[in-house]
Structure formats: C-alpha cells, structure tokens
C-alpha cells in the first residue's frame, strides 16, 4: 500500500505477542536497507552480543515492491554471529510480494521462544505455532511439512533454517521458498537462537492502484525494457552460471582455494555444460518475468539394477564457484550433489565451499590432521565433500565447530591464515584484482554486490587510488538506494535514477522521487554509522597473503598498491560513518 509511514509488525517470541508499529520517514528511510537500519536503531542492542534474545531479526521491503517488475527482493538485517556486528543479507523468492500483500513494510522479530516455533503471519492473522518436532529436520523436509501445516499455496513465502542455523553456525543461511536464500553472515543462526525454525508469510491482502492510466502505462514501459534487454537475456538464458567460462578465460576464477585462477578442467562445469547436461527448468521470484533461477537435477542409484531417485537443485555462478572450482570438482552432477547437501543442512554455500577449500589445503600441508577433518579431504573428491558438509553444519567436533564460526577464526587457531580466502567473510568468486579484493574485504555486506569492484578491475587498466576509492563510495551510494527500493540488482542497468523517480512519482511518492540523490547519501551514511556503532573497525581488516599471490589476465597482483587502497578505503568508510554525527 502506498503510504508515507511504514507499517511494521513487531513480534516478541518471548511473550508470544505481536504489535503493529507505524514508523514515520518514507522520504528518509525509503524501505529495504534504509528501513532495516532505522528499525535496528530503534529495536537493536548495539552493545549487546548477537545472541542476546532482545536482538531483532528484521525483514524489510521497498516502496515499490509489487508495483513494478523486479521490485522483488527483501532485506534481512540482524546482528551477525560472524562478526557480532550489524549485517544485511538479501533474498527474493516470494518473500517480498508476500510481505507486500500481508500489508507490511517490515517484520521485526525479537525475543526467544521457549521451544521451537514457526511464526505465521498475513494481512489478517498472527500465529506462533509449536513445531518442536521439526527441530533437526533438514530444509527440504521442513519446507514440505510447513507447506502442509499452513494454508495459502502459491501466494505465500516459507522461510526456514536447517541444522546449521539450529546449531548457531555463523555460516547458517535462511532458506526462502526452496531455491533462494538469505545466505550470508549467519542469518540462520539469528533465527535459530530465537528457537524460530520457520516463518510463513501469507500474502492475502489487495490494494487499490493509482487512479488514471499513467501508472499502468509506465508499468508496461518498464516491463518492456526489462524483458527486452540483452542483460536480462543473459540471466534468463544460461543465468549467472555463464560467468564460469568467462572468469576462467579471464584468469579470474578462484580454483582449488585460489591456488589457480584458470584451469582447462573448468570446462566441465561451465554454464553451458550445466545447461546441456543438468538443467531441468527455470523459475522466478514472484514479480519478476526474467526467471533467472536455474534448477538442475541430480539422480542417484540407490539399488541395483536400475532404481534411482532424483533431486532438484538450484544453481548459480557463486555456488558453482564455491562447491565446484574452489573444491576442484569439475563434474556438474557432483557439484549439484555437494550443493544439495549444503542446501539441506542450511549452510551458506559460498561460505561452506570456501571454508572446506581452506580445510583441504590445511590438511594437505599438515596444519590440521585427519582427526580434525575426520575425512581425507582432497581437491576433486566430491564424495568426501558431501560428508564433510554435514560435519560442518552439525559441528561434529572442535575443528568443525570453530570452522563454522568462520575460516579466519579456524586459521587463527590452527594456522594457515595466509591461505584463508577471507575478505571480511569467505570470498565471492571474483579474483579480478586489487579493487575487488579491497571492496569485498571492507564493504558493508562483504559482498561482491556492495559495489562493482570486480567490474572496475576489468575496466580500468592502471588503478589510481583516489579514483578507485571514489568509485567504490559512489557506486555503493547508488546501490544502497537500489537495495532500499528493494530492486533486484540484476536490473540495475534499467532502473537508473531517472526511471526510479518516474516510478515513484507514478504512485504518489513525489517527495522521495525528487530527492533521490540526497536521500541516497543519507542512507549510506546512516548504514555505516550503525555498522561502526556495533564495533566495525575497517582498519583492522586484513587481506590474507594468498590474495597477493594471485595472477590474473593483468599479471600478478600489486600487494603494495592493494594495501594502500585498503587503508585509503578504510579511512573513507570511517569518514562516511562520522559525517552526520560529527
């Protein structure tokens, strides 16, 4: 619904009660990232640890969610078990439209239930149901049971956690509608610590649209632009998996714990190979006609002579990089098998793949022993990795419990920090150069999507420190407005400022439409202020030695320049967070 305030449902799991809060400030906080930050300021405990029951887990959508195509994502914000600071993770599925049609701009969950529960909400109901019998169940089984227990097939979103979230792993994600995830920085543990196994959001409300034909006409124009572009063809065709061959050719694909950046064997797991051999179908987030989600299949012979079962597994570039290239596994079906195990245990796939790549090298170098890893980890040995993923999710022994808190923490204890592929958190799949490494290491979400550092590396031959930092800051500022809207970032080439302003105008957000630039600056500043207030010191972030030994298509990395860039960007982040308060 179009309104200047935000309608927020607050649910306290300790008391089992909810309340609806109205928060002013549409033209300041916008929604998504901005709204989540405002809600964390209001309900979060800056100085208390992530697992304090009072800490909120926040889900926020944007002002145009549902009103225009690809306004289809949700921002999840929480204090992260990974670094005990404020964090965001983003996902799509049906979560955004379900919140819209539940007539909510945001959901905030605080407190801790005394036993495992599922929260079910909609435009006309709120229920907290005891689901203790689901504790320990995998993500797939949990989804199926929740689907049966609550009504509303097709017009709802089902969020749930697996074993990793229940056990408090800092690598635990939240599964959204089977194929999407709030993957990074431990959102699954933020739910698990509250005894919150699942959330079902029923989108059962409807709203009037603006009078006149202008809105529908603009919708048609935006729809046309989004479905006509070449960029969208990429996401619809091979999907993000197309990048595997591209990055391998560029010598920018992290392989075998970033010991290599290119390898002919990678030809086995390119987007083209996945499409040819294992692609079943595409699917989409609700409200997105692009349909970038690629679902592959893996079948298993469970009995001779010809008894099989099959599983469907969604794949993308990042999961292929993490469970394929990083682990040296180059068969699509073997990669899908590892991904599925990660999925079912509720781990974040990028974190898990990179952590296990480090563990493999650490075992090979004798830094850890097989009594730690429990299995003889070996690059390329897919079957070993599926078992290891379960150990990582369950925290079977001291080694896996520590590794599940972050590769850097395990490396600090056992050794091998120089080859831990950690940039703020386990790296994303871009060994493109100094600017990306610094961008992910220091960036707000420690994500490749915080700003386009990987693209800067590819476009700019000779890096100028001031220009690079200016680019990172400016690009982040544009993206924080997009993630406050909350647009899928794949559509960032279409949803330029002018078009966003036009869309905002068409539904009546005139003030916001006219102040996009100033509002973006404010969003960026406030988000950094919160991150800094929860303990972030960008100057303390280190970039492990492995990243200085990488060679890309440009040649070897320049470690001195990388370090100067790191210091420069760290200083800039501190300035950004000081601006308003200073």
């Amino acid at each position: 619904m179009i309104r200047d305030d935000f309608r927020v449902l607050l649910v306290d799991l300790t008391s089992g009660r909810g309340t609806v809060e109205s928060l002013e400030g549409r033209s300041v906080h916008v929604g998504g990232s901005g709204l989540a930050a405002a809600l964390f300021e209001r309900h979060g405990q800056m100085d208390e640890p992530w697992n304090d029951p009072r800490q909120p887990i926040i889900f926020a959508i944007g002002p145009l969610t549902g009103y225009f195509p690809l306004m289809s994502k949700t921002v999840c914000a929480f204090k992260s078990p990974y670094h005990d600071q404020y964090a965001e993770s983003h996902a799509g599925g049906r979560s955004a439209l379900s919140l819209r049609f539940a007539d909510l701009d945001a959901l905030v969950v605080t407190g801790r239930a005394d036993r495992p529960v599922c929260l079910s909400i909609g435009s006309r109901h709120l229920e907290i149901k005891d689901v203790h019998y689901l504790w320990g169940k995998d993500v797939g089984t949990t989804g199926k049971l929740l689907r049966r227990m609550f009504k509303g097939s097709g017009h709802r979103s089902i969020l749930r956690i697996g074993l990793a979230g229940e056990r408090g792993s800092a690598m635990a994600g939240i599964n959204v509608d089977t194929y999407r995830h709030f993957g990074r920085l431990g959102g699954g543990a933020a739910m698990g610590v509250k005894n919150l196994k699942g959330i079902v959001i029923q989108g059962d409300g409807t709203f009037a649209l603006p009078e006149g034909k202008a809105y529908a006409k603009l919708f048609q124009k935006v729809h046309q632009q989004l479905t006509d572009t070449e960029m969208m063809f990429k996401y619809h065709n091979l999907g993000t998996a197309e990048n595997v061959a591209v990055m391998n050719k560029l010598k920018a694909l992290p392989i075998r714990n970033l010991q290599q950046t290119s390898d002919p064997e990678i030809d086995g797991i390119t987007g083209e190979k996945f499409a040819e051999r294992s692609l079943l179908r595409n699917t989409a987030c609700a409200g997105c006609p692009v349909g970038c989600i690629h679902v592959g299949f893996v079948r298993e012979k469970f009995m001779e002579p010809n008894q099989y079962f099959y599983r469907q597994v969604a794949y993308d570039y990042e999961p292929i990089f993490a469970t394929g290239a990083m682990l040296g596994v180059t068969d699509p079906f073997a990669v899908l098998d590892i991904m599925d195990t990660v999925e079912q245990t509720g781990l974040d796939v990028m974190s898990a793949g990179v952590a296990l790549a480090w563990a493999t090298e650490a075992l090979g170098r004798g830094i850890i022993k097989q009594e730690d890893s429990l299995v003889p980890l070996k690059f390329g040995d897919a079957k070993t990795y599926t078992g290891t993923v379960r150990h990582l999710a369950a925290g079977t022994n001291d080694f896996y419990r520590l590794l599940a808190q972050g590769t850097a923490k395990a490396a600090a204890h056992y050794g091998g920090r120089e080859f831990a592929c950690v940039l703020g958190q386990e790296m994303a799949g871009y060994a493109t150069g100094e600017v990306f490494f610094v961008s992910q290491a220091l960036g707000f979400r420690h994500s490749h999507l915080d700003s386009g550092g990987y693209s800067y590396d590819q476009k700019v031959e000779a890096v100028d420190l001031d220009e690079a930092v200016e680019f990172l800051v400016k690009d982040e500022q544009e993206r924080v407005f997009l993630t406050s809207m909350v647009v899928c970032l794949f559509a960032r080439g279409v949803y330029k400022k002018e078009l966003l302003a036009e869309c905002l105008h068409s539904v009546g957000y005139d003030t916001l439409a006219e102040t996009v630039q100033e509002v973006s600056k404010g969003l960026q500043t406030r988000r950094w202020q919160i991150r800094l207030a929860t303990g972030y010191d960008p100057a303390s972030i280190e970039i492990p030695g492995r990243f200085s030994n990488v060679s890309t298509w440009k040649g070897p990395i320049n470690p001195e320049m990388q370090d100067r860039l790191r210091q420069h960007y760290a200083q800039k982040i501190v300035e950004l967070g000081r601006k308003e308060s200073g």
């Binding site: 549902g66 097939s153 097709g154 017009h155 089977t178 409807t206 479905t227 989409a284």
Partner: protein, 147 residues
C-alpha cells in the same frame, strides 16, 4: 469469440506476471488474488506451477446459480459479470467446479472475463487466446471487448 487457455503451463516460472496484470489492468488493484487467473505451486515449488483459470463452461454453473443476474452466460463459454448487481452471496464460488472464482475478504467475486490482457505479460508463452468454433461473430466480439 475467444477464450483464455493455459496450454503450456509446464513452462511456467511462477513470476505471477499474468495475475498481477489482470488485477492491475482489469480490476485496478495491486494483487495476485483478485485476478481471473491465479498461479500456485503444484505440490511445492519443486513440482512446478499450475494455473487456476476459468475453463469457460457452457453452460456455466456459476451463472446458473447467481440469484441476481450479476453473472450471465457468455457466448463461447464463461460468464459476463455486472458487479453492480452482485450481492456478495458467494454462490458463484461455491458452484464453480474448478475453483476459478476468488472471493475477496468482503465477498466480492473475481473471475476471468476472457479478455486476454494477461497473455502478453507471460514471458514463456504459457497462455493463449483461442477461438471457440462457431462463435466468430464480429459484432459480439466488439461488444465483449467493451463490457
């Protein structure tokens, strides 16, 4: 006369663009419910999607039970709806054998009028308007488009 059909639902990606278009263009609402076509997963997302359209019954049981004449038989199948005659009794919904009618919380019914405005929004060409044999009367078609 043409009717809306859903011959290629195995291609559906669950974007809901059809439902949203119907709600937006025909019923002037933001909704995935108040639409003449609704999409749901057929037993969970891993089994794909199915549509809940109107199958253009002739005679239409919903029109037969409507006590006020709000629903009348449409030539070629399906119904014509006059919302101002509707008393929100819900009889149409109860009579529909395929759950094609959605009643909003106030009891207002929403059903496909076979106008085809959802069709161009489907990115995978799942939907199609088809001629009903023996009903191609241009006068009737223009009357229908205006209703």
């Amino acid at each position: 006369m043409k009717i809306l059909t859903t011959p290629r639902m195995e291609r559906c990606i669950g974007c809901h663009a059809c439902s949203l278009a119907c709600a937006r263009l025909v019923h002037k609402r933001l909704s995935w419910d108040t639409a003449g076509i609704r999409i749901l997963s057929s037993g969970g997302l891993s089994t794909g999607f199915e549509a809940k359209p109107c199958y253009a019954c002739d005679p239409a049981p919903c029109a037969a039970v409507c006590p006020t004449g709000a629903y009348t038989q449409r030539k070629g199948g399906g119904v014509m709806v006059k919302k101002n005659l509707c008393i929100r009794c819900g009889a149409c919904d109860a009579a529909c054998p395929v759950d094609a009618i959605y009643l909003d919380p106030m009891g207002e019914p929403f059903v496909c009028i076979h106008c085809g405005r959802c069709v161009p929004f489907c990115p995978h060409d799942c939907l199609e308007m088809v001629d009903v044999p023996g009903t191609s009367d241009p006068k009737e078609e223009s009357k229908e488009a205006a209703s």
